[in-house]
């Protein structure tokens, strides 16, 4: 505001200070300025915003605006300490029914919680892979052919499936399909990548196709690097970019590399992998929105090396962490670098590598130990055209089956 205005206000002082301070805004039937309302509302959880749509028409309109949705996601995904540690998506199998359970798990020193979500994936399908999440959308699919691709917003409780490509994998020629999810923030476009793999005995590069939620169609993407990915889904998604560990055969021989999808050029790039021996295990992680890797000796359950990738210098070892307890399995790590590990009793530990201490402990009920995987997730208000509310039916069926199992147990103990 120019200074002359400030002087003018001085002369008129005392006249109507309330109305000047809180002049009604034409775009908001509220005495607070629109910019303040936006600033406050964009920091609220999705659950609250769904309810606050009922406050008034301007709020309802605001909460569905793409610009507001983007601002809200920037806040919900920020790494600021004020917002606390962000929850992660947990994929486990039920101890008895072996159902796929998806939960939001919050690990923090103040309070840890596990909240089960309504899984939109058809429960009668035995296999399900969580591809990962970006911009509040989670991608699920069925291995090994990468079908039943489901895009899901857990916070908004809405989902839809992606139509399959006309170029289906050929049973004899292809061995499996690996799925990845990407988000092009420039175009506000979610991209599903489908990498068709040929049999392990061949060295033919993967065939790649890409589905865009904007154009709602599949198109071919050249695999100029000539890689063959290893897993059934991308290993990691950082800021909308999916990463895969892959094999590459070229003049230097056969080696393991990392490939990632370049969103602006819509092509794949290859990155080096840190040198690993056969005895070591590695786990790709997101460390403060940069590429990182946890590495440990298969026989040593007390030491973990943390490696980070730098665009200029490549991979370098950041530190070695002496984990106080022996872990059974490293599950992954939070974006702030805290390591999540599971012990032999299925208890989750949150380990702070800086202070070398266990920050939080949580027991996952009904989880088949060793089946757990975590994925970075930040909630958003984003919806994709054609999304429908996730039916509660799946939860009801689950309950019915649980009861059935309980009955079976009782019957068994009765007989004994």
């Amino acid at each position: 505001m120019p200074p002359s205005k400030g002087k003018g206000k001085g002369k008129k002082k005392g006249k109507s200070k309330k109305t000047k301070n809180r002049a009604p805004d034409a775009t908001c039937n509220c005495i607070f300025r629109r910019e303040i309302i936006i600033n406050i509302l964009s920091r609220l959880p999705v659950k609250t915003l769904i309810q606050f749509r009922c406050v008034c028409k301007p709020w309802r309109k605001l909460i569905s605006k793409p610009k507001f949705i983007a601002t809200h996601f920037r806040h919900s995904s920020s790494l600021q300490p004020s917002t606390g540690s962000s929850p992660v998506l947990l994929h486990t199998r039920h101890l008895k029914s072996y159902d796929h359970l998806l939960s939001l798990i919050n690990l923090s020193s103040e309070s840890s919680s596990v909240v089960e979500l309504d899984n939109p994936f058809p429960f009668f399908l035995q296999s399900m892979v969580v591809v990962g999440s970006c911009n509040g959308i989670v991608c699920l699919c069925q291995p090994p052919w990468g079908d039943v691709i489901t895009l899901w917003n857990p916070a908004m409780r809405q989902s839809r499936t992606v139509p399959l490509s006309k170029r289906e994998p050929i049973m004899e020629a292809h061995s499996s399909v690996s799925i990845g999810l990407a988000y092009d923030s420039q175009e506000n476009d979610f991209l599903v990548l489908s990498l068709k793999r040929f049999g392990p005995e061949t060295v033919i590069a993967d065939e790649v196709e890409m589905f865009s939620t904007m154009s709602f169609s599949w198109e071919r993407v050249p695999n100029e690097v000539g890689f063959r990915v290893l897993g059934l889904s991308c290993n990691l998604i950082i800021k909308g970019v999916p990463y895969w560990s892959a094999l590459l055969e070229d003049a230097y021989g056969s080696r393991e590399v990392l490939v990632c999808f370049d969103l602006s050029k819509k092509v794949f790039d290859k990155l080096p992998m840190p040198g690993m021996r056969l005895e070591t295990k590695g786990y790709l992680v997101n460390l403060e929105d940069s590429l990182g890797m946890l590495m440990w000796e298969k026989t040593d359950k007390y030491n973990v090396d943390i490696w980070v990738m730098d665009d200029e210098d490549g991979w370098s070892k950041k530190c070695n962490v002496g984990v106080l307890f022996g872990f059974d399995k490293i599950i992954g790590c939070l974006r702030n670098g805290n390591i999540v590990a599971e012990d032999e009793n299925g208890v989750f530990f949150l380990f702070d590598p800086v202070t070398s201490s266990v920050k939080a402990k949580v027991c996952i009920d009904n989880a088949n130990s060793g089946s757990s995987m975590i994925f970075n997730y930040s909630e958003s208000l984003v919806l994709i055209e054609g999304m429908l509310p996730v039916k509660k039916q799946a939860a009801r069926d689950k309950l019915a089956r649980e009861n059935l199992l309980k009955c079976g147990d009782q019957l068994l103990s009765f007989q004994l």
Binding site: P3, G6, G10, K13, C30, N39, L44, T48, Q51, C54
Partner: protein, 163 residues
């Protein structure tokens, strides 16, 4: 910023809504984008801020002083101060937020908006309307539809609009 590099400290007077005067070092108010521009462009020595209550101004000046003293060694202390700073009744917190937005003190604005968000996130729709002095512009039919769709939005601490 040229003025702050000269050795002597410049003094500035801020006049609150109820005409109360606050005398402080010019370097302190430079944290406010609005005041910084006024000082730079017009070389004023007294700035009237009729729209801001003196009580609110006292709080904001308290923050500016603390923030200016912030060093890596007293980070924890500052964090505790920030926590205490927003520990006021909701109406006062909103007054501060509105004033900070007007003065354009960016770091504090972020912090205040987050504090307001944390305070209202479990409130009912009715309570939020009261807090922000909003009249519902939905038809009674729409209103009852919402109550059916999201009953939880209308439950909760209806009258508790102060905390």
């Amino acid at each position: 910023m040229a003025s702050s590099t000269t050795g002597e400290k410049k003094i500035l007077t801020l006049k609150g809504g109820d005409n109360e005067e606050f005398i402080l070092e010019e370097s302190l108010v430079l944290q406010s984008e609005l005041l910084k521009n006024m000082v730079k462009e017009e070389r004023v020595s007294s700035i009237p801020l009729p729209s801001i209550k003196s009580k609110t101004l006292v709080k904001i000046i308290e923050y500016l002083k603390k923030h200016a003293e912030l060093t890596p060694s007293n980070k924890e202390e500052f964090k505790n101060f920030e926590k205490e700073f927003v520990n006021v009744v909701l109406e006062e917190l909103l007054d501060i937020t509105v004033a900070v937005n007007y003065l354009k003190i960016n770091g504090l604005l972020e912090f205040c908006c987050q504090a307001v968000a944390d305070r209202i996130k479990d409130k009912s729709v009715e309570a939020v309307r009261k807090i922000f002095r909003i009249e519902s512009d939905f038809t009674p039919e729409e209103e009852s539809e919402f109550r059916k769709e999201t009953p939880e939005a209308f439950e909760g601490d209806l009258d508790d609009t102060t905390n």
